[in-house]
């Protein structure tokens, strides 16, 4: 059977892993899904920490994002996971804490640097215990190619009407693909599509909380309307977008072949590296219905760091986590990874203009987190995963917005009490 083979592999890797731990000083291993950040950890963050704590060595050991949760769970069960665990927000980490895999960090020195909102993603439902140090949030919006906009004489859209007018013009001109997004990897459609434009419809936290409380349903207008807008995106996507993967979309935009990219702020650093000097990037928040409407953005608490409860180096790990909670870390991290915005109370100066643009929306728009992450993805079928599939279906045109919403609601109501009425 396949899983036994996998478990065996993991066991084998744990034996090899522990053999290398025989060095004199304490070595801490960080589990993470951010394999893009490997060089930043190795060149900037870890040296900065090791300078202050020469007796502690830190190793950053990431795995691929889609496999991370499964691999981490298996490693934790087998006892071979690293000392420090990069925490996914909400239930994935809460489950680990409830199972005793993550240590309680409520009283960790440095935790006072974060607001309750920032800690919410890694606290128990009643907020009494916190188990991960918040590291960063990511903001959704649209990144656009400034050169293309200038060439076609386009203005940055603020309302939906303007947004579609801009898309029409780019399509008419024919030189650029209006929008770089594919549906093959599914999550692009949900994360960059549905969760990006959705908060303007369901009014951010108001709608999200009403859904959790059971006062709104996924078949209500504010939850179906984003699907209706997504269905209208189809003609503006590139040829064969159904088989276009996430890296394909990134490349289309960075090579200058597409004008607009529905984005998460985490793209800023890799995009800069790819694009170099070939064109300037700009960004705009999801357009609202009428000019002057209140805007809502997805400002998703995305990444934190916790302590493996079974770690043999708990003291050293706590020293490290206190450093992660410090302004020094926030400063290095936010500037090394523009687009991952610090959650600390003290504001961090950022040099990247695009990152500044994204973070400036926090002042004029209301922030919310992705609707499916807290509580609503606890059961089977899993609302987040279902939303991936349905969003892709809606854009592909294989399902109507109404059908998609009804199926999501049926799935959620099948296990979530407040939605059963």
């Amino acid at each position: 059977m396949r899983h036994t083979a996998l478990t065996g592999l993991l066991l084998a890797s744990s034996v090899l892993g522990s053999a290398s731990l025989a060095a004199a000083e304490t070595t801490l291993t960080i589990e993470s899904w951010r394999n893009d950040d490997l060089s930043i950890w190795q060149d900037k963050l870890i040296p900065a920490f090791e300078k202050q704590h020469p007796d502690i060595k830190v190793v950053f050991s990431p795995s691929a994002p889609p496999e991370y949760n499964a691999a981490l769970n298996a490693k934790l069960d087998a006892g071979s996971a690293g000392d420090l665990i990069t925490c996914r927000p909400f239930d994935a980490s809460l489950e680990l804490f409830n199972k005793g895999k993550l240590a309680d960090l409520t009283s960790l020195p440095g935790m006072e640097n974060f607001s309750d909102v920032a800690k919410a993603a890694w606290s128990t439902d009643d907020g009494s215990k916190t188990f991960c140090v918040p590291m960063a949030s990511v903001i959704h919006g649209f990144i656009y190619n400034k050169a293309a906009f200038e060439e076609l004489g386009l203005k940055v859209p603020t309302t939906r009407e303007e947004f579609f007018a801009v898309l029409d013009k780019i399509k008419e001109d024919g030189n650029y693909i209006p929008m770089a997004m594919g549906t093959k990897d599914l999550w692009e459609a949900a994360t960059m599509g549905y969760q990006n434009i959705g908060p303007n419809y369901w009014k951010g936290e108001e709608g999200r909380k009403a859904l959790i409380a059971g006062e709104q349903k996924l078949t209500d207008e504010p939850w179906v309307a984003p699907f209706e807008e997504l269905a209208k995106w189809k003609p503006y996507l590139g040829d064969g977008f159904e088989a276009q993967s996430y890296p394909d979309s990134q490349n289309l935009f960075t090579l200058g072949r597409a004008a607009i990219y529905p984005a998460g702020s985490w793209e800023i650093a890799p995009f800069r590296a790819q694009i170099g000097d070939s064109f300037e990037m700009g960004a705009f928040p999801p357009p609202v219905e009428k000019a002057g409407d209140k805007c809502y953005i997805s400002d998703h608490t995305d990444i934190g760091m916790g302590l493996n409860a079974a770690s043999k180096n708990a003291d050293a790990a706590k020293t490290f986590l206190t450093w992660v909670a410090s302004p020094e870390f926030a400063n290095i991290y936010a500037n090394a990874l523009p687009g991952f915005f610090s959650l600390a109370k003290t504001p961090v100066e950022m040099e990247d203009p695009l990152a500044q643009e994204f973070v400036s929306w926090r002042d004029k728009c209301a922030s919310t987190i992705r609707s499916t992450y807290q509580i609503l993805s606890r059961g089977t079928p899993n609302l987040e995963n279902e939303t991936w599939v349905k969003s892709a279906n809606v854009i592909n045109g294989t399902e109507t917005p109404q059908q998609a919403a009804e199926e999501l609601q049926k799935g959620l109501a099948s296990w979530y009490e407040p939605q059963k009425k």
Binding site: R2, T4, K184, V389
Partner: protein, 305 residues
């Protein structure tokens, strides 16, 4: 000294390594899986629930829909292999065994090489070939003015599974080819000569003489294909991911098992339901193999040369 025969220790000694290793890495985990499927895990511990997990799998409309969808897709995946891979393999073997063929060793190697490639490489390479943006397929078709025939196959519900089935055929066609090739070579020359004296040559000779003689090999290949396909996972996972998109149209039992057992993204893994699916896979393969052994294998006529 007309006493007992001496105990033949060497039999046990020679069998031991295989039996021990096979027991440790196959038989014990298999029973472990079957056992796991009879329990339910909760934070308070494990409780014995009998066949409840199987009842959920077949009774709950969502679980049942996913399971039947995966089984149907898996069956189609198998049918593609039976209809394309094995006939093509036999054809290639027949061509290879033609006495006048030159560069035989080269063809044999070239066709067999994909079989030893990793699934990850195959999945990745074909994803690139079929990519609507950078792929070879659209530009090649364009050369012949057939660009209109191209479509993003891996992204369309109607084509994705068939496309992946054919990729898998491309990868594994070397195996039936080699087995049949070996079987064809082992046909004694006297039989062929006798056929020729009787005036049976060329294509007729293949259909009337050779094909009958290689039927047992074809049977073995069919059952290997069956077991391989119903255990398949890697290619779909590396090409389409664990959600086997679009809209679960490429979901086969292996990916369904993986998603359930290990969880995916926000979905937490459920080892008990996972083991239930794994057990079902085991039973399906067991039934398939038994059917073959008892219904087909026994009726095949074998010839001793």
């Amino acid at each position: 000294m007309a006493g007992k025969k001496p105990i033949r220790w060497h039999i046990a000694v020679f069998l031991a390594p295989a039996v021990l290793i096979y027991t440790a890495i196959m038989i014990l985990p298999l029973f472990g899986t079957l056992e796991l499927s009879l329990f339910h895990s909760s934070p308070d511990g494990r409780t014995f629930v009998g066949l409840d997990n199987f009842r959920t799998l077949f009774g709950d409309p969502r679980w049942a829909a996913s399971f039947w969808n995966a089984l149907a897709n898996n069956t189609w995946f198998f049918i593609i292999h039976m209809l394309v891979q094995n006939p093509v393999g036999i054809l290639l073997a027949a061509l290879l065994s033609h006495p006048k063929l030159r560069f035989r060793a080269f063809y044999r190697t070239a066709i067999f090489v994909p079989t030893i490639l990793s699934f990850v490489i195959v999945g990745f390479v074909w994803k690139l070939i079929l990519s609507p943006l950078w792929g070879v397929a659209p530009s090649l078709l364009d050369l012949f003015g057939l660009k209109a025939l191209f479509s993003p196959w891996l992204g369309k519900e109607e084509y994705a599974l068939t496309a992946l089935g054919l990729v898998s055929v491309w990868q594994f066609v070397g195996i039936p080819m080699m087995l049949i090739y070996a079987a064809l070579l082992s046909i004694p020359d006297e039989i062929i000569e006798a056929a020729e004296i009787d005036g049976i040559t060329g294509v007729a000779q293949f259909w009337k003489i050779k094909l009958r003689l290689i039927l047992p090999s074809i049977g073995i290949i069919s059952i290997l294909t069956f077991v391989g396909n119903f255990n398949a996972f890697d290619l779909i996972y590396s090409a389409q991911g664990a959600l086997a998109g679009p809209n679960f149209s490429t979901d086969i039992l292996g990916t369904f098992l993986y998603r359930t057992f290990f969880g995916f993204q926000l979905q937490i893994g459920d080892p008990n339901m996972g083991a239930t699916i794994a057990s079902m896979m085991f039973f399906i393969i067991l039934v398939g193999v038994c059917l073959y052994l008892f219904a087909i294998q026994r009726r095949l006529r074998r010839y001793q040369f």
